[in-house]
Amino acid sequence: MDKTSKDYPVVRLRNVRTVFGHHMVHDDISLDLRRGEIVALLGGSGSGKTTLMRVMALLHRPQAGDVELFGQRPGRDSSEMQALRARMGYMFQFGALFGGFTIRRNVEFPLIEHTSLPRRLIEEIAQLKIQLVGLDPMVAGLMPSELSGGMKKRAALARTLALDPELLMLDEPGSGLDPASARSLDELIGRLHAALGLTVVMVTHDLASVQRLADRAILLHEGNVLADGSPRELLESDDPRVRYFFQLELKKSQSMSSRAAARVS
């Protein structure tokens, strides 16, 4: 099959089983992520969302099962894995920016390492990405320790986008951001997705963001996929466990917004 065709799965998991010590995180998970999808991984704390994304990014090797990326099954060959990883971008929950570099240097870093572009062009591209994610242009000269949590998140997204990855993985992109910033971040991801045809996987607790952005939501529960479909399908599901999850999450976000409203009034 043509590996660039629209329906070829970007990520294919087959019977993935992950165990930490005596604790089973994933029992038997199989799923395909198609090119151009925006997929939200949902589930309670400890349901293995982030670990599943780490398995997809080849950062964690499952105890059993197969992982296929872009139609290739990576072996233990590290150069092969590096080539695959260069096609994807992973944004870590707390940014994972290099503390010894300025923000611009952090964003330049993958460009310097993976391309042979002239230095001036790299500087311009890095600066552009920093502005794209909505950071003040002058933030580029600061060190990560001088940034707030939300700014770090945006800077980390700029670094993740440095090479325009085909597969973008976001670990709780909206957490730590105020609602307006979270919304504008969603907008940016949406625009980049439309313009570049990215495939996006994100772990999130923000149901509003899921409804705004995602084509597909996958709910993990006790090591398995409990529900998989469009956000609307999941919200309207008959399964009591799915309903229970959404009720809890909705209650959480409602109580947060009513508290915020109370504070305003």
Partner: protein, 374 residues
């Protein structure tokens, strides 16, 4: 060149007033277009940019094209883009909306040599004051523990005793044994000129008990333990564990520093005794094997020449070394910033300073002992 490779590289073809773009315009392929793009622009008039042949465009490529278009606009020339795919159009729009990244001038602070020297010397003073404050805080916590207003954290104490003391036994024993061998070797060689090889026991005993035993134990511990203390506490800083202790209304000095100091103050004198013993054994074995001096004769000579005072003058230094090593190790851990690089820098600094101060204090002891006629 293979067909695939040539379809990947970005192409620019000029035809009248039309610039035909083709191939892939991505960060990975752009390099080839960089030089070419400058030359292939129509000399004057309206320009039509035809995107029909572009197979792939990413933000880097879009910026590359956008900056060329911006330059043409600045020259007052009219530019029309045609045959843009919807994706490419929205990407070019997204990039075009941004302020020109070339105009951002990041200010970097530059210091002259004199400014740097001044800054560094002020920092030395600041660090010394910080260290003094840290010692003060530790002393207050120590008083609270001694007066039973705070806990003796015995399990922690024993853990540190094991980690800093018991686990260092093999390396310190071996090193001191070898130093004993070396001293006996050199001593025998020197003393045989005077027919006084029997005195090698006094020579080795005096050097090892007074100076080398305590020093070797302290230097090995400075390398092993002060680095471990800095790294442990520094890592706790990075993960905000220290802040958590403070936020719970507890004292990090009492919980983290005192058990380490107590552990080392007990461990280092014991290690010094071990170093003394291993050194003497090394010297005795060498004297026997190389100098033909019977162990009994060696022991006799040792007992004659080296008294308990010598042993004690050496041992008395060990607790002082221990306090310096432990407090410096902990101090640098607390001063680490919350990033990995800073923890590494602080670890280096704590080892270097520990060894430095161990030797300085040893010199102070020598002067003091000689004034006291010990």
């Amino acid at each position: 060149m293979s067909e695939e490779a040539s379809s990947m590289r970005p192409r620019i073809r000029l035809e009248g007033h039309t610039v035909h773009l083709g191939g892939m315009w991505t960060a990975a392929t752009l390099e080839k277009a960089y030089a070419e793009a400058q030359k292939k622009l129509p000399p004057e008039g309206t320009i039509i940019v035809d995107f029909a042949g572009v197979t792939k465009l990413d933000t880097s490529g879009a910026w590359f094209i956008d900056r060329a278009l911006r330059a043409l606009h600045e020259q007052g020339r009219e530019v029309h883009s045609i045959n843009l795919s919807p994706g490419s159009r929205s990407l070019l729009n997204l990039v075009g909306e941004q302020a020109d990244p070339r105009e951002v001038k990041l200010t970097r602070l530059h210091f002259t040599f004199l400014q740097r020297a001044g800054h560094a010397s002020l920092k030395v003073g600041d660090n010394a004051l910080d260290y003094l404050a840290f010692l003060g805080e530790t002393a207050i916590q120590w008083l609270r523990v001694v007066t039973l207003r705070a806990h003796w954290r015995l399990p922690m104490f024993f853990t540190h005793l094991e980690q800093t003391g018991v686990n260092a036994v093999p390396i310190i024993g071996l090193l001191s044994f070898l130093i004993g061998v070396v001293i006996a070797y050199q001593g025998l060689y020197l003393l045989q000129n005077y027919g006084a090889t029997a005195l090698v026991a006094r020579l080795a005993g005096l050097t090892i008990l007074r100076e080398l035993g305590p020093l070797i134990a302290a230097i090995v511990v400075a390398g092993r333990t002060s680095s471990a203390f800095t790294a442990e506490i520094g890592a706790m800083r990075v993960s905000e564990e220290i802040d958590a202790i403070v936020a719970m209304g507890l004292s990090p000095a009492e919980m983290l520093v005192l058990p380490r100091i107590f552990g080392l103050v007990v461990a280092l004198p014991l290690l010094t005794v071990l170093a003394d013993a291993a050194g003497i054994v090394g010297a005795g074995v060498t004297a026997h094997l190389v100098g033909g001096i019977a162990p009994r004769a060696f022991a006799h000579e040792l007992a004659q020449g080296v008294g308990v005072t010598t042993l004690l003058t050496g041992l008395a230094k060990a607790p002082v070394f221990a306090v310096v090593i432990a407090t410096l190790g902990c101090f640098h851990g607390f001063r680490a910033e919350s990033n990995a690089e800073s923890v590494g820098r602080r670890t280096t600094r704590s080892v270097v300073q520990s060894i430095f101060f161990v030797i300085v204090i040893d010199a102070v002891f020598s002067v003091a002992y000689s004034n006291l006629h010990l």
